[in-house]
Amino acid sequence: MDAKDRIAQRVAQEIVPGSLVNLGIGLPSLVASYVATDQGVYFQSENGVIGLGSRPPEGMEDPDLTDAGGGFVTAVPGAAAIDSAMSFGLIRGGHIDLTVLGALQVDSAGHLANWMIPGMLTPGMGGAMDLATGAKRVIAALQHQTRGQSKIVNRCDLPITSTRQVDLIVTDLAVFDYCDAGLRLIELMPEIGLDEVGSKTQASFVVAL
């Protein structure tokens, strides 16, 4: 199992039965495959479906049923199709129980940066700003480092996505949340030691394992 799948599998444990969950594109979208289908969990995709399902059978893909990345999907029984105003009404209005977002950086204040690298890459924020601001719970799911640089930083130097503090960070090395003292390490991923997390993390954190 590679790093991304390990992260996705760990995030899946955070999903409460019966909840409504939005998964960002990329790494977060892998989470769905680790959630049991009998838990009454509904996945919302911001392009307009509640009850996103797995991949359709070969040859049965419908061009009018896609995920937010434009890929073919199915819908589960009990799904609902909604327009973009309703979709973001649900997101901004606090009706999404949990969103899992990818990140370029997350910082000690719980700010997430995931929509542009000035001068290099500008994908745009898509629905990320609304999700990071409006969802009831926000999990940042990301690889701990990129090219040897920590993505868990004291202060984002990339443009942030929201001033709302994320609730949980899950990386391939560890799980963090926030307490009064700031960023807090609460769990090590299997076979990872505290020293490794310390040496690979730029941000200061307290430990509560």
Binding site: S45, E46, N47, G48, V49, D62, P63, D64, L65, T66, D67, A68, G69, G70, A75, A81, I82, D83, S84, A85, S87, F88, I91, R92, W115, L121, T122, P123, G124, M125, G126, G127, A128, M129, D130, T133, G134, P159, I160, T161, S162, T163, R164
Partner: protein, 217 residues
């Protein structure tokens, strides 16, 4: 009852420099025949308002590649490297707006509201130069309505008077854009007799639709 018109005929009414909303999400639920006609017409200097710029060769991506667009107001350009290339080369102005703010600004224009009052974007680059409003101890960003001269929308089905029905994720921005443009041009997959779309299935009432595009040849 409306007369149906060809994509080429519809596009003739769109002048250079027009401000156009185009429905679709990554090319899904987007009026491809209207876009093809717009590219073929050579109409340029357009301001396009859309969720994203799709992919090269698909939907709005064709307009970007053809150089028809001067400015795009959108939430996401990440899957169209051509948009990013033109932006970096200074040939295309890109105004990035959070997706929920974008759809709500379009809605507010369509339903006669003066602004969208939202927390989204507060404290980020999106808030630069914008008015902040304090209400009941909470801060909000004021985002202004987004109107257009034309809306090019895609629908699964229209009836002869112009009521529209959408399908699944092909709905997205289409019904909202149908509220917010001076002239609304709808490209349905099917056009059926009046009475075949029951009142409760209509998502865009006929009164909002100015032109229906004829069936594909």
């Amino acid at each position: 009852m409306k007369r149906s018109i060809s994509p080429d005929y519809a596009i003739e009414i769109i002048p250079d420099g027009a401000r156009i909303m185009i429905g679709g999400f990554m090319g899904v639920g987007t009026p491809e025949r209207l876009i093809d006609a717009l590219v073929a017409s050579g109409t340029g200097n357009l301001t396009v308002i859309a969720n994203d710029t799709a992919l090269p060769g698909k939907g709005i991506g064709k307009l970007i590649t053809a150089g028809s667009v001067r400015k795009v107001i959108t939430s996401h350009i990440g899957l169209n490297p051509e948009t990013q290339r033109l932006m970096n080369a200074g040939k295309l102005e890109v105004d990035l707006v959070p997706q929920g703010t974008l759809v709500e600004c379009i809605r507010s224009a369509g339903v006669g509201l003066g602004a969208v009052v939202t927390k989204t974007g507060l404290g980020t680059a999106v808030a630069e130069g914008k008015q902040i409003l304090e209400l009941e101890g909470q801060l909000y960003l004021i985002e202004l309505p987004i109107h257009a001269d034309f809306a090019l929308i895609a629908a699964r089905q229209a009836d002869y008077v112009g009521n529209l029905e959408y399908a699944l994720t092909a709905q997205n921005f289409n019904p909202i854009m149908a509220l917010a443009a001076e002239t609304v041009i709808a490209e349905p997959d099917h056009i059926v007799p009046v009475g075949m779309i029951p009142p409760d299935a209509v998502r865009t009432p006929a009164a909002l639709v100015d032109h229906l595009i004829e069936r594909a040849k």
